[in-house]
Structures are given as C-alpha cells and as structure tokens.
C-alpha cells in the first residue's frame, strides 16, 4: 500500500536518492547534501511534534512510502510561512498603459515588479517523486495528503496558500528567463542560483537582484514567452493543483518565471470535501477510491483506500487501511474522493 507520513531520520538515504535523481529544479527546496537534508528532516520532525522554539519556522516534510518494500518513493512539503522568516521573493507581472492623447497612441507596457507580497503565506513545496509514479494515484496521494494535513491542522496555516511551479527550461537545461535577466546580475548559472536559493539565507537575493522593476519588452523573446508558463514536466502537478482550486495569479518565480499558483485555504477542494468521520470496518476491498487520513502531528498518516459506505458521520473502510493509518474502529479520520 501507499502511505504518506512525516519524514523521519531513517528516510535520509531514500530521500537523497530521490532528490539526486531529479532534474535541477525539482529539488530546489530539497537539499542534495546529506547534512543539509538531515537538518531539514529534523526541523520537520520538530514541526510535526510542535517542539519548535518560537523563532524557528515550521516546515513539514512528508514521504510517500511503499509499505510493501518499506522504501520511500516520494517527498512533499509544506512551509507554514513562505520565506520562513525571511522575505519570499517573486516578480509581480503588471501592466502600465503608456498613452499619448495628442498622438492618439496607446501601448500596454508590461512590467515585472519585485514583490514580497506572498511572504508568510503557507507554501506547498519540495514535491519530488520517482518519475515512473508521475500521474498515478500515488502521485495524487503524495500531493493531496498535504491538503488533508492542512484541513486537520488548520490553525497552523494561513488563509492564503501558494505553490511555485517550475518554469520553462530547454532540453539542454537552459532557462530562457534566467539567461535574459538573472544571469546578468547574479553572474552564475541557473542551477547554481537555484541551489543557493534552497540552501542559503535570502540575503544573496537582496544583494544581487536588480533593485528596480523590469520592462518585459526588453527581455528576449524566449524569456517573454516563458513568463508564467509551467515546465511541460509539471503538467500533472499543475492540473492536479488546478483541480484542487489553485489558479495562476500575477506572481512569477524570480529565477525561471514559472507561475505561482494561489488559492484560498478554506476553498481547497480537499479541505472543503474532507469532513471528520468515525472509522468503521468494511468487509470488502471494493468501493469508491478515496484518500483517507488520520492522526495528529507526528502521528499523521494518509493513504489510499476503498470506501464501501459513508453514512452520516461514519465511514467504512477495509481493516488493512486502519493498520496502515495506525487507527482503529471509532477513531476520527478524514476522507476525500480521489
């Protein structure tokens, strides 16, 4: 069975294996270095256990476990507050109208403004999964388990929720937006900047980012075309998130101009549809495929199940699902359809 649960120190090597196997961008908030990753897992464990001190940001890391093999096959995360106490950088795409009454001309002038407006919004991040699982139910489970966690721990998260989608990259790894803009100021290639962004404090962005707004018309054509466009490989993620209720707004990633998706937390499909129910046993494995989650904090678990019956406040699922969740009859769980 597929199980999503909080990451644990013992997952370190499995996660490193997955993180290393991705393209450069997929792992942006998932360090490839062992000590950095271990620290991140520890911070996550404190976040789940609620033992962070006041100044430490809450950052949750989930893993997708194949309970048969016990191997971890994917990772996903939530930062309770984007930026984790530092500014969270984006470009905001806006337009000015340059019009001359006397000459009778009018032009729409697109401008990218440096913005921190999404700082402190809850951020979905670190989504990484083995390529062969992309688009499967396990993929959906790994992503949406986070929404169920948020639904069950609503007070830890903000009213707005955002997620950055990887932007356009050519087959040989070039990032047109970076090449047209960031490269001139950061004087490094995209992958290096992206790694620093995951590892270092954001001071280097404040220091190196161009301080003034950028006119879109002065970007290269390839860069202009990449604005707000998701990387083709993120199609499944993108569609899943749209289905959850996320939409593209005017915010872009500062490095690759990928879209930032936004949603109101309380209108997320998984949050709206997943009401707490009391767990009961089902006799069969048949039924409607569902996500089911249970447990607080570090005991949070989420898996896929067949739902045989749901009446009032009660649900019936197979007992193996109970075991997987570590729950038993009469416990409270959340259910939402796949």
């Amino acid at each position: 069975m597929w199980l999503v649960r909080p990451a644990q120190p013992g997952d370190l090597n499995d996660i490193l294996d997955i993180a290393g196997g991705q393209g450069p961008r997929m792992s942006s908030t998932l360090p490839k270095k062992q000590d950095a990753l271990a620290a991140k897992i520890e911070q996550s464990a404190r976040s789940f256990a609620g033992t962070n001190n006041a100044s430490e940001a809450r950052r949750f890391l989930f893993v997708l476990e194949d309970t048969g093999s016990g191997r971890v096959q994917g990772v996903s995360g939530i930062d309770a507050r984007a930026g984790n106490g530092q500014p969270f950088y984006n470009y905001r795409q806006d337009a000015l109208i340059h019009a001359s009454h006397e000459l009778g001309v009018s032009r729409r002038v697109e401008v990218l403004y440096p913005s921190h407006a999404l700082t402190d919004h809850t951020l979905l991040c670190s989504f990484t999964i083995r390529p062969e699982l992309r688009g499967t139910d396990a993929f959906e489970l790994l992503s949406r388990a986070r929404m169920l966690f948020i639904a069950a721990h609503r007070e830890l998260f903000t009213d707005q929720i955002v997620v950055e989608i990887q932007g356009v990259q050519t087959e040989n790894g070039d990032v047109p937006f970076w090449d047209s803009l960031g490269r001139h100021f950061f004087n490094m290639d995209f992958e290096t900047a992206d790694q620093y962004s995951g590892l270092l404090s954001k001071t280097f962005i404040a220091e190196l980012m161009p301080p003034n707004p950028i006119y879109v018309t002065l970007l290269s054509q390839a860069a202009r075309e990449a604005l707000g466009q998701p990387h083709p490989q993120t199609r499944a993620t993108f569609e899943l998130l749209q289905h959850e209720g996320f939409h593209s707004g005017c915010y872009l990633d500062i490095f690759d101009a990928g879209p930032v998706l936004e949603a109101r937390t309380d209108t997320l499909k998984s949050v709206v549809t997943s009401h707490p129910k009391i767990l009961h046993a089902a006799n069969t494995d048949d039924g409607e495929p569902c996500l089911v989650s249970g447990g607080e904090g570090e005991r949070f678990r989420c898996t896929l199940t067949a739902l045989t019956e749901s009446l009032g406040d009660e649900v019936r699922v197979p007992v193996k699902t109970w075991n997987c969740l570590g729950r038993s009859s009469g416990d409270e769980v959340r259910i939402t359809p796949l």
């Binding site: 001359s100 032009r107 950061f186 004087n187 490094m188 270092l200 001071t203 161009p210 301080p211």
Partner: protein, 348 residues
C-alpha cells in the same frame, strides 16, 4: 570678410535654404518657414531684451560681407527645461555584490533624468556647404564662448552641448531600435522631429520611467551609448579641445553624449584678452592661415559682432585693425575689444 552678428529678419530665406540643404537630423532647425520665422523673432526679442533672460535664445548669423548673405548660424539657449521638460538618460552604474558568494557585478544602467534643467545649451550650429573649411566652423562655434564670457550673468555657470548620436545611412539608430521603438509607436525620425518641435508631453506619456539595465539591450545598442555620429566627431573634438567633457548624460533617443564645461574653464574664455582699438592706416592682408588668425569681438550685447584678424595685429595694450574691420565690428578707435586665438595654440 566673414562676420558674426545677431540673426536678423532678412535672414529667413538664407536660413530656410540652409535648413533644406541640411536634411534631417538637425531637429532644432527644421526646414519650415513658419518655425524659422518664430526662431528669428525669438532671437530678436532676446537681443533687444524684450524677453526674460532665462527664456533667451541667442542666434548668431555668419555673414559673408561680400555676398551680403547669411551663410551659417549658431545659437545659445539661455536655459533649457523651463518651458518644456528636458530629458536625458544618465549613464550610471548599479553594483550588486554578495560577499558570501564572492560575486561582484557592475551593471551599466540608464536613469531617466531632468538634471540638465536650467542649464545653458549651445545649439543650432549650421554652416553652408560653400563655406566649410579654413576655420569658418571654428569661428561660428567659438564666437558663442566669447559671448558667454562677456555676459555671464545671463547664463548658467556650466554650459552643455548635445552631440548627435550614431545612426546608419538610412537614419536608423541602434539605440532607438532596441529601446525607444519598444515604447514609442513611431519611427526614430518622427520622434526626433516631435521632440525638436518642443512639445514633449508625449515623452512624459510614453517614456519608460524605471531604469534600463544595459545588459538587457543588444550589443549594437549598447555600443552606441555615449558615442557620436561620425559626422559629428569633428565638432566633438573641437569642444573637447575647448575643455568640454562628457558628463554622463546621453540623448534618450539615439544615445548621443552630452558634453559640458564651466564657462570659466572654456579655452576661448581662458585665453581671451582685452585690447583697445587702434585704426591702422597701413594696408593689411586679412587672408592669413587659420593658425595665425584671432577672433575679435566688439563685446556688444545687442549687436554682437565677431570677425577674425591676423594675430600680428595685437600689441601690448592695443590692437591695430583696418578701418573696414572696425566698420564691420562697429567699433571706433579706443574702444575695448576682446580677442582670442581661432585655433588651438597648444599653450595649455
């Protein structure tokens, strides 16, 4: 004799013919009779002190006294940017550095600027093709420095000149193609003409207000920023020899440089000397090489006149000039005139 004097009503035809011959590119003197007439009127009011000093437009004609015709013109605008808004880009540098990462990047940046506002501009130089060479251009240009010197309170401490930027044979400007054309829905020449006509509100309306980072422009555009058109190189050399320096400002359309100098530092001003006129009886060959000529001005605000005489005429306290020169300058024996070498004497 070639004589500098204030532009007059009857110069209109000659001026129009010159403007026609100059073609595009000289936007301050378009081939438009009505506009030229306005310029003449404005200059007449200025010399007659019937307009506010800061609104003054001083236009000088170069007259060929044999032909009795104006064959060149040059001007001083007392102050720019008081009536309309005067725009330049300032070529500046943005430095971004991270000690942690060992990165230190300097990015040349254009900032929209109005900083030349309220400064005196030398402008509108145009010389008929028939009279080029032999130091005539020098006389036409440098006579203005003698005027600035003698009437400093009418002008700012610094004066500047905008130099024509790089464009190709078809009048296409690489900077315009890369920058201006992205914001102004028109041709370079059209923008240039509109701008020259003085109503610049379209610039306020259409111009990008945020700084332009040069690495985002193509090489061809970056290469021409602060550079002059090849036809303007001699004029730039002349001004540099006079002590003008690039001040970091460039034209918003073609990227041509602005050069400036403190009046008191201009060579013509520094090397100027005063002498009393002595009318000589002995004949004098005025036709000496440009190297041996000195400019001589009558120091008159309303009826400023300058011509050249051989340097040999200068005495210890006096300058001895033929009656015809004195007549042309409208000076008499004993009047104080000012003299300055026409060409660089290398004395500096």
């Amino acid at each position: 004799m070639l004589l500098i004097r204030p532009l007059q009503e009857n110069d209109l035809d000659a001026l129009y013919a010159m403007a026609q011959g100059a073609g595009k590119g000289l936007t301050t003197l378009p081939a438009d009779r009505e506009l030229l007439q306005k310029k003449i009127d404005h200059a007449r009011e200025t010399f007659n002190q019937r307009c506010a000093p800061e609104a003054g437009l001083y236009l000088f004609a170069l007259e060929d006294t044999e032909l009795k015709q104006c064959v060149g013109i040059s001007g001083i605008q007392a102050r720019v940017g008081l009536d309309e808004v005067f725009y330049n880009y300032r070529l500046s540098v943005t430095v971004n550095a991270s000690r942690e990462l060992g990165v230190h990047v300097r990015t040349p940046t254009l900032h929209l600027s109005n900083d030349m506002t309220d400064t005196t501009e030398i402008c509108s130089l145009l010389l008929s093709g028939s009279h080029r060479g032999g130091g005539t251009g020098l006389l036409l240009s440098r006579c203005r420095f003698m005027y600035l010197d003698d009437f400093r309170k009418h002008f700012s401490e610094k004066v500047f000149a905008e130099m024509r930027g790089v464009s190709d044979g078809n009048g296409q400007s690489p900077l315009w193609d890369a920058l201006g054309s992205k914001f102004f829905d028109m041709e370079f020449s059209e923008a240039d003409v509109l701008s020259g006509l003085g109503n610049k509100s379209f610039i306020a309306e259409l111009m990008p207000k945020y700084p332009i980072y040069l690495p985002m422009l193509p090489d061809a555009a970056r290469a021409v920023i602060g550079r002059v058109h090849e036809n303007t190189a001699p004029a730039l050399n002349m001004l540099q020899a006079e002590g003008f320096n690039f001040n970091g400002m460039v034209d918003i359309f073609d990227g041509g440089p602005v050069v400036e100098a403190f009046i008191h530092n201009i060579r013509t001003v520094r090397e100027g000397i005063n002498r009393h006129v002595m009318i000589r009886k002995t004949p004098l060959d005025l036709n000496v090489p440009a190297e041996d000529q000195v400019m001589i001005s009558n120091r008159s605000f309303r009826d400023f006149r300058v011509t050249t005489i051989p340097a040999g005429c200068i005495g210890l306290d006096t300058v001895s000039i033929p009656a015809e020169v004195a007549g042309a300058l409208e000076v008499e024996s004993g009047d104080l005139v000012r003299l300055a070498p026409l060409k660089d004497t290398g004395r500096r």
